[in-house]
Symmetry: C2
Subunit: 119 residues, 2 copies
């Protein structure tokens, strides 16, 4: 029972948070082997990362993959997200909680950027 | 003479800014019709957006495409980047300066997120 949590930064603009939630719904509707896909936020929007992981575990997850929807290895990716994950790991030592490579590491990003100039 | 400026947020972590600069070099080395591709930053790193656009024009650009390397339509994309672009548009009314759709609008993002969980 693998759960995917996509972590965005969170914004004071609720439209921006809803944009993330809509994206996560798109991911959930695609072909994959996660039994659920959830959106979580580092700050400014809910649920926050620890609460999102706890909710996934309460819903039956035995593995949780946390995927940072971030573009560069700034402080949030390097320190803040791992720190939030560690909080829940300490609470549930039997659950496997891992952090996937953040979006900005995807090798296709340069080509996607060029494609955006042709829209 | 079209110049592409990729705008990132900018970080206090210089490694993070250099990650963006490396990405922009990758884009520059790909197949496209821009005579140059530059990195610019909204804040915290240099060059800032107005200075980057001015440098492109000084280097011969007659068209400038500003591409937000951002994932959601938060305040930075909706207000701050357009405001910076307007400053330079007022200075150079004969130069065509446009803003391309920000990265997060790319329709392939959900699939790329799933691919990241397989890394």
């Amino acid at each position: 029972m693998k759960s995917l949590l996509i972590v965005a930064h969170g914004s004071r603009r609720e439209e921006s948070n809803n944009e993330v939630r809509d994206l996560v719904k798109k991911v959930a509707g695609m072909n994959h082997d996660f039994y659920e896909v959830r959106s979580v936020f580092l700050e400014l929007a809910e649920p926050l990362i620890p609460d999102g992981i706890r909710a996934a575990i309460a819903n039956g997850a035995t593995k949780v993959v946390v995927l940072p929807y971030f573009l560069s290895a700034g402080r949030h990716v390097v320190e803040d997200i791992p720190a939030d994950v560690e909080i829940v790991k300490a609470e549930y030592p039997d659950i496997e909680i891992s952090i996937a490579p953040y979006l900005g590491m995807a090798e296709v990003i340069p080509q996607i950027l060029l494609n955006q100039t042709k829209q």
